[in-house]
Amino acid sequence: MTPLQPRGATEDHPLVRIAAVTIAAIFIALFLVLPLVVVFSQALAGGWSAALAAIRDYDALQAIRLTLIVAAIAVPLNAIFGISAAWAITKFDFPGKSLLTTLIDLPFSVSPVISGLVYMLIFGMQGWLGPWLRDHDIRIVFALPGIVMATIFVTFPFVARELIPLMSDQGREEEEAAVSLGASGWSTFRRVTLPNIKWGLLYGVLLCNARAMGEFGAVSVVSGHIRGLTNTMPLQVEVLYNDYQYVGAFAVASLLALLALVTLILKTFLEWRYADEIAAVHRH
């Protein structure tokens, strides 16, 4: 803008503009950029070889393995749930529909620690089923099943809350046409619905996966922190950090930070490329 040109009625004074951008930049630098930079700089404080050695450590590799297993169980289950719930809610009218939609979002308003606590109250040693499980030598908490359940709880709404508004916007006509032409329910879903919702589904799965791999509070309650056995990557970060093994802690943390960055890049790409097919962007 040249100084000679008069300022538009809805344009801010250049000083206001500079001040606002500066304040925003400082706020973002302090709270978002620096934490990210510090993760990588601390991981590499002892050089690349130290960071790589910390990741190749037995306990760290076991933690990576457990995190991948947990996500591989929890994310598909939540995706199947999300598709089922969205199909029932958007393709049919029944009483209690809006209550069901509200209940699906419920886990997002529950503290992660409480999300873990509820499973302790059922399966823990002093929980409802605790003594029975001990007598039958079945391990739920402090083992894989508990970690998976706590992860499912905290990531519960991701796929459903993306698909419900999307499929609701798309209506039922295409599916009704397919069924009236003789297609089975399954092939209607696979050939008509799935192509329409695939980007929205991917978007929901992406966010679900990021949270599933990174969940800390809920998993921390039910894991029991057994090294090499029930520690996921975020828990391994905590253990190493509390042991003052900062390079190791930040090396594992930098893997999780990379996951977050890849997630953000894919998310931004999906929002930009397939804006019309993703409800989260569509919503007003």
Binding site: A25, F81, W87, A88, P95, L103, E215, P234
Partner: protein
């Protein structure tokens, strides 16, 4: 299938040509009940195993009250900080053009995507007395990490995207006509911002602020590393839940959890009511 069962089904849901209703709704209800509703019922029932007096004693112990006060107080301060700075960030992102804008916009979601434990150790390292931000602040006599101030820093980080992301679509959809009209009628730019733009943003500010607050009250991972976790001083309520669990005091842990949930839901309901009665009537 008999005709009787067909009419029975038709009576509680509207007829549809599409198949799969029983299967999908059945699975959804089973999954929701088994993994969310029954466990939450356990939380609602368990504290009463202490008896009413025991429940009251458990949640009014000084250490518990201090932890609840810190969690709710720090969450409220952090939400206020985001209500002040969030609009400036959203305004800059929606209205101005500047270098790296796309990148900055994507970065706003970082607190959603970055695992909380990673954010926690990063913030603790930054704001410790030897850290990049902590050292200059310590020179000014301000200690952030391992004090309640550290809790506020972590909760501000967690809450930022809620406020910015709620405001952005509203700001983008605002249009300039109202501002132009205001300017034409002789208002200064500041008057326009205060009397035209701010009221239009107010509902979104309340929504974003309450989302940030609700998330912050229960936040654990990003806080515990920077908080210092001193009982009565910098110990948050979720940490106390974990401590009680480790002492096999399930009733006490459930009691704190239930109070946290009840208070957050009441505050959210009250803010929703505020939205409904104050803003809807305009």
């Amino acid at each position: 299938m008999t005709a009787a069962s067909l009419t029975a089904r038709a009576s509680w849901r509207s007829p549809s040509a599409l198949p799969g209703f029983g299967l999908t709704l059945g699975f959804a209800l089973f999954y929701l009940s088994a993994l969310v509703l029954i466990p939450l019922t356990a939380l609602a029932l368990r504290p009463w195993s202490l008896g009413i007096a025991g429940f009251v004693a458990a949640v009014t112990a000084p250490r518990v009250l201090a932890a609840l006060e810190l969690s709710f107080g720090a969450a409220a301060i952090a939400a206020m900080l985001n209500i002040v700075f969030g609009p400036i960030v959203a305004w800059a992102l929606v209205r101005y053009r500047f270098p790296l804008k796309r990148l900055v916009d994507a970065l706003v979601d970082l607190p959603f995507a970055l695992p909380t434990a990673v954010a926690g150790i990063a913030l603790a390292t930054l704001y410790a007395q030897t850290g990049w931000i902590g050292a200059p602040l310590a020179a000014l006599g301000l200690k952030v990490a391992f004090t309640p101030l550290g809790v506020v820093v972590a909760l501000t980080f967690i809450g930022l995207p809620f406020v910015v992301r709620t405001l952005e679509p509203v700001l983008a959809g605002l249009g300039r006509e109202a501002e132009e009209a205001s300017a034409t009628l002789g208002a200064t730019r500041f008057q326009t911002l205060r009397r035209v733009v701010l009221p239009a943003l107010a509902p979104a500010l309340v929504t974003g602020g309450s989302l940030a607050f609700a998330r912050a009250v229960g936040e654990y991972g990003s806080v515990i590393f920077i908080a210092g976790n001193l009982p009565m001083k910098s110990e948050i309520a979720p940490l106390l839940v974990i401590i009680k669990l480790e002492q096999y005091d399930y009733g006490g842990a459930a009691a704190i959890g239930l109070v946290m949930l009840a208070v957050s839901f009441s505050i959210l309901l009250a803010l929703n009511g505020l939205q409904y009665f104050v803003f809807a009537k305009r």
